[in-house]
């Protein structure tokens, strides 16, 4: 039962207060009955055990912190929601497919013996439910790509763990089990360099089938590739061509077909449209949204373009310097941002309407600090207009009412 902590898991993550993840994921329903397990559920809170200890009551007071509630929407516009009908909003019962718990990753420490590594990801916890799209936005260097690579097992976290249906992705130095790897696929940013120029489209898309021995015989392999190309809107006859014969948008479709080949439950898309021309971006965005509706695959959609993320995501996480600043339903994060950074980011984004030019804007001073030597406490405090002494101390925990969480001591009111 989820209430019984797994001593082994604890031993591996002493700070994370993780209960046995396996038991939890297999019994998603029982969580509601068990206040203790529930309190542990908003994983990122585990990143800040001390802060939590100071507010022991707050998460427990909240009946279902992570639930996808259809609750209050963006008060501003009352607009339509992206990709409604994909399901996860409606179903509280959607199981958690992928869970990241207190991930840390530091690069390059100790190469020159000085220990000044790049703190790319510093305590990120999140979970992805079946059939939902979780958008991650952030500026360059905020660690979103590193997070993506850890979520698919291409990078190993220094500490913390990624679990797939409650099973740890990889333990110790071992590679993720093929059965897990098969179900979590990735679409890369640059369709020019992520396809081998010397392989035909058939071989590129069939490679995952070969690796996981999913096709018996050449005819079946060819049929399956044809099916996949059809799924992403490419004519199956094109399978004998080479990547250079395709445009950028078509190449990204090939990359998506390859990711779909193993019938994954999760696809992590790292900036899937930012290398594409603006007239082609919409095609790929629509394709991903359509595939999700048809196949029910869960997506992690990582991008720096706020409007694109808003468009495709059910929930959105905002990253700043390796940490999640805010996490919540897309309409709430965009409609009433709680973290000052989210507010500044939204306010700085150029709006394709000249009339909006004179809106009041928050222009942040300076650049994001270097992840080699991040500020203490809240990492945004060096650019934040609300920063006070408390911000330099402990990092603020990611918390909030309902499903809308923010890591700030002075969150914006009006939520």
């Amino acid at each position: 039962m989820p209430s019984v902590p797994d001593p082994e898991a604890r031993a591996e993550n002493p700070g994370s207060r993780a209960a046995n993840p396996e038991a939890r994921a297999e019994n998603p329903g029982s969580r509601a009955a068990n206040p203790e397990a529930r309190a542990e559920n908003p994983g990122s809170r585990a990143a800040n055990p001390e802060a939590r200890a100071e507010n022991p009551g707050s998460p427990a007071a909240n009946p279902e912190p992570r639930a996808e509630r259809p609750g209050p929407r963006a008060p501003k516009t009352g607009s339509t929601q992206p990709a409604e009908g994909a399901g996860p909003r409606a179903g509280k019962a959607e199981p958690v497919v992928l869970r990241a718990e207190n991930l840390h990753k530091t690069y390059g420490s100790g190469i020159f013996g000085r220990g000044g590594g790049v703190h790319a990801v510093d305590g990120v916890s999140l979970e992805l439910r079946a059939g939902e799209t979780l958008g991650i936005v952030g500026e360059s260097g905020c660690g979103k790509s590193t997070l993506a690579r850890m979520l698919v097992g291409l990078e190993r976290p220094d500490s913390g763990e990624v679990t797939f249906h409650g099973r740890p992705f990889a333990r110790g130095r071992r590679a993720p089990a093929p059965a897990v790897r098969r179900r979590v696929q990735m679409v890369f940013q640059d369709p020019m360099t992520s396809l081998n120029p010397r392989m035909t489209v058939l071989d590129i898309v069939a490679e995952p089938l070969d690796v996981h021995r999913l096709a018996a015989g050449r005819a079946q392999r060819r049929d399956r590739v044809g099916e996949l190309l059809d799924l992403v809107g490419l004519a199956p006859e094109l399978m004998h061509r080479f990547p250079h014969e395709f445009s950028g948008g078509q190449r990204q479709r090939i990359g998506i077909a390859r990711a779909l080949a193993t019938d994954p439950e999760v696809i992590v898309c790292d900036e899937p449209v930012s290398a594409l021309d603006m007239s082609v971006q919409a095609q790929v965005v629509n394709l991903l949204a359509g595939l999700q509706r048809r196949l029910g695959v869960a997506l992690v959609f990582i991008a720096h373009d706020l409007a694109v993320v808003r468009h495709v995501s059910h929930r959105v996480g905002v990253m700043y310097l390796g940490r999640l600043a805010e996490l919540g339903p897309a309409a709430e994060v965009y409609g009433s941002p709680a973290h000052p950074y989210t507010k500044a980011l939204l306010s700085a984004a150029p709006v394709p309407r000249p009339q909006a030019r004179d809106r009041t804007r928050i222009i942040l001073a300076g650049d994001p600090p270097s992840p080699v030597d991040p500020p203490s406490g809240c990492r945004f405090r060096t650019r934040c207009w609300k920063a006070a002494d408390v911000c330099a101390g402990h990092a603020p925990p990611l918390e909030g009412a309902a499903a809308h969480l923010a890591a700030c001591y002075f969150p914006e009111a009006g939520r």
């Binding site: 971006q281 468009h311 150029p350 709006v351």
Partner: protein, 334 residues
């Protein structure tokens, strides 16, 4: 359009690359007129010829395997075509200057930023090292670099991306040119830094009265800073318009489709209206309208005859190149 003293007037700009076996016609007859103190955004996707246009105007394409022809080229009333190459070179940096997209590769890594900015004053105005250094500090201050007197000795790698872009802009406005060409100045920058840089360019334009040619692919950036917008597609300008009209009531189907294809932060739609197909390559055949294969309004005439860029009926400040101009204007926009 008749303009007395345009900061820049270019007519019928053609650029052809002849390096490889086939000729690539990258810019096919572009007219540009920018008034002093005005910001013109040249909007286009990759391969539309917008950056080539900027380089041709700057005279940076005077090299083998490149044919550049212009009917008219006047910079602040001076006829560029009548000048020698040497005279034109002296104008670069002093009368017109260029801000590149990638500040790290545009700056010399082995010279301090003070030396690089100071070089402008030493070459163009014959100032001494000491004087040039003093002017460099002033400029760094102008573009908002903290502690300029200390940082003037630093090298490009010691600055962040946003600061490097500020330094490039400082160099571009150092000699108070009449025309500043900014080629995707914020594309490599983060959103929060982008806002700072756009604001800086706009402030300098106001303070110095510089005309700005802003090359961008971003409809949002153009909407934020431009007075007028020229939309390029496949080497040609397909629409020019004051910025408000362009976004409210596009005259060309390409502009119309682009506006429908980008997600709007404040008004999320259920489905983006994607434009089918991909932009033509620069070497594509040139019969009919280049956008016709992707255009929902295309008819037989679009494939046969190329539409000329003509004044939009009722809006003398606008031009568009479309056979179905009226139809596009009449379309109800949501």
């Amino acid at each position: 359009m008749t303009v007395g003293e345009a900061a820049l007037e270019v007519r019928d700009l053609q650029v052809t690359f002849t390096g490889s076996k086939r000729r690539t016609h990258a810019v096919r007859g572009v007219d540009l007129v920018i008034r002093p103190g005005e910001t013109l955004a040249l909007l286009g996707e990759s391969g539309s010829g917008k950056s080539v246009t900027a380089r041709a105007v700057m005279g940076l394409l005077d090299q083998p395997d490149t044919e550049v022809t212009m009917g008219t080229a006047k910079l602040g009333g001076r006829d560029l075509l009548a000048m020698s190459a040497k005279e034109r070179r002296l104008l670069r940096g002093s009368a017109m200057s260029l801000v590149f997209q990638d500040a790290l590769s545009a700056l010399n890594p082995v010279l301090s930023v003070g030396d690089q900015i100071g070089e402008l004053f030493r070459v163009h105005q014959g100032l001494s090292r000491r004087q040039a250094r003093a002017r460099s500090v002033e400029l760094l201050e102008l573009v908002g670099i903290p502690a300029p007197a200390a940082r003037v000795r630093d090298y490009p790698h010691q600055f962040s991306g946003g600061m490097r872009q500020r330094i490039l802009i400082a160099m571009a406005v150092a000699l108070e040119p009449g025309l500043l060409i900014a080629d995707e100045p914020t594309t490599a920058l983060d959103v929060t830094v982008q806002a700072q840089i756009l604001r800086l360019i706009d402030r300098l334009r106001r303070e110095l009265g510089t005309a700005v040619l802003l090359i961008t692919h971003d409809l949002g950036v153009a909407a934020e800073v431009a007075d007028r917008v020229a939309v390029m597609y496949a080497g040609r300008i397909v629409e020019t318009s004051p910025v408000d009209d362009l976004y409210d009531r596009p005259a060309h189907p390409y502009t119309e489709a682009l506006l429908a294809a980008i997600p709007d932060l404040d008004r999320p739609a259920a489905e983006l209206r994607a434009i089918p197909g991909a932009p033509p390559g620069p070497g594509a055949a040139d019969t009919g309208c280049a956008f016709a294969p992707r255009c929902p309004r295309a008819t037989a005439v679009c494939e046969r005859t190329r539409p000329e860029l003509v004044a939009v009926p009722g809006s003398p400040a606008r031009t568009a190149a479309c056979h179905h101009l009226q139809e596009v204007l009449d379309a109800v926009r949501t």
